[in-house]
């Protein structure tokens, strides 16, 4: 397989960010048959959106973001709680700051496949979520961030359309750029909106809902699950991910157990079809917490129990 963008990225990491090399090798080993194709897909969109400078820009952002996460996890180990607990504080310091958000989003974009445990989520997303959707699905992406998950869905489903809503103006800008770079600008529409206000949308409008790593950013995640239930058609499916005991400067709701996310789904009319809970192989010495990422495929119930 010809992978010019992946090759360029690997060369840049090897030369400029030696400390990150081991993690990149782990990610390749985590999904050996699929890593190259997934990485080249994401990197190809990045280069089309940002030009050749997109790779060093995103890798630098990835290293900064990963350092921030590791440092936040170390502080969490010492303090026993996340740094922030208020959405208003995080919004003022992060989501409303275009300069902060731009680097942050491109950094997260690369974590999709450069963090080994997130590379596993990519495979789970493709096999257990995208494979369930029809080619002409109407999709809603809640808090698309960089837009990569939704654009991947459009790449897989040739007649699908997607509406994405995010509270950050930077997210709308970058997700729009990624969708256009991938050639799906005519099937993706993004708007600045608080996820919790999506209950104003027409009910049962979505064949699929994508909501990646939002729940831990909310003071009360229950409202989000009510929104997902509101948007999904009966028996339609959703892809939800969340972070457990995984600190980040803008994580405010601390999930400790996988069952907490499953319970939130079940309490809000969503049947849990499949789950994946993954964590990094390398931890801080004497770690008390395993920072996990959990992915769930859910289906809107049509009866009391199914």
């Amino acid at each position: 397989m010809n992978t010019p963008n992946l090759d360029a990225m690997l060369e840049y990491v090897r030369k400029r960010h030696r400390r990150s090399w081991r993690g990149v090798e782990e990610a390749r080993a985590a999904i050996p048959a699929r890593f190259d194709a997934i990485a080249e897909m994401f990197l190809g969109w990045l280069v089309k959106a940002c030009g050749e400078s997109g790779i060093p820009l995103a890798v630098d952002a990835f290293v900064q973001f990963t350092t921030e996460v590791n440092l936040a996890q170390a502080r969490y180990e010492a303090d026993g709680h996340y740094q922030n607990s208020s959405f208003a504080e995080v919004y003022a310091d992060h989501y409303s700051q275009d300069e902060v958000m731009s680097g942050y989003l491109w950094g997260i974009y690369l974590t999709n496949f450069l963090w080994a445990h997130h590379a596993e989520i990519c495979v789970f997303y493709r096999d257990y979520f995208l494979n369930r959707l029809s080619p002409s699905s109407q999709l809603v992406e809640i808090a698309p961030g960089h837009g990569g998950w939704g654009v991947w869905a459009l790449n897989t489903l040739p007649q699908a359309c997607l509406q994405g809503f995010d509270i950050s103006n930077s997210s709308i800008h970058i997700a729009t750029e990624v969708s256009r770079a991938a050639g799906y600008g005519d099937r993706a529409r993004y708007a600045e909106k608080n996820a919790l206000d999506l209950r104003e949308m027409a009910p049962q409008c979505a064949d699929g809902v994508i909501c990646s790593f939002l729940v831990e950013h909310l003071e009360d995640p229950r409202q989000l699950f009510a929104v997902i239930h509101h948007l999904l058609k009966p028996a339609a499916v959703g892809f939800i991910t969340g972070a457990l005991t995984a600190a980040q400067v803008d994580h405010i709701y601390e999930f400790r157990y996988e069952s907490e996310l499953m319970q939130l789904c079940e309490e809000h009319g969503l049947r849990v079809l499949s789950t994946l809970s993954v964590g990094p192989k390398r931890l801080l010495p004497n770690a008390r917490f395993l920072p996990r990422s959990m992915a769930l495929i859910v289906q809107k119930r049509i009866a009391d129990t199914f």
């Binding site: 030696r18 400390r19 993690g23 990963t66 350092t67 440092l71 390398r282």
Partner: protein
């Protein structure tokens, strides 16, 4: 105000920390030492190292400072900048 340290004192103290963190009693670092020279110096161990340095020197680093460090020399300079504040 915290007492200023000479660069050699700082390097000496850092060497002790590096030996502890990387569990290598024979490790000798210089200003030029980087992740190219210590195989175990990855992104996770880097933060572990930073936390031990913060404790030892009574200072605190930002994530941007931590991410930008290229070698031990950068670390010595940053510690000294913070120590004189």
């Amino acid at each position: 105000m915290k007492p200023n340290r000479t660069q050699s004192e700082c390097l000496e103290r850092l060497n002790e920390i590096f030996r502890d963190v990387f569990d290598d009693e024979d490790l000798i670092i210089t200003r030029e030492t980087s992740a190219d020279d210590i195989a175990e110096w990855d992104s996770v161990m880097h933060v572990s190292l930073i936390i031990e340095i913060e404790k030892a020197f009574g200072i605190r680093f930002s994530s941007t400072e931590v991410a930008q460090l290229q070698n031990v020399g950068d670390l010595v300079d940053l510690i000294n900048t913070k120590a004189v504040k």
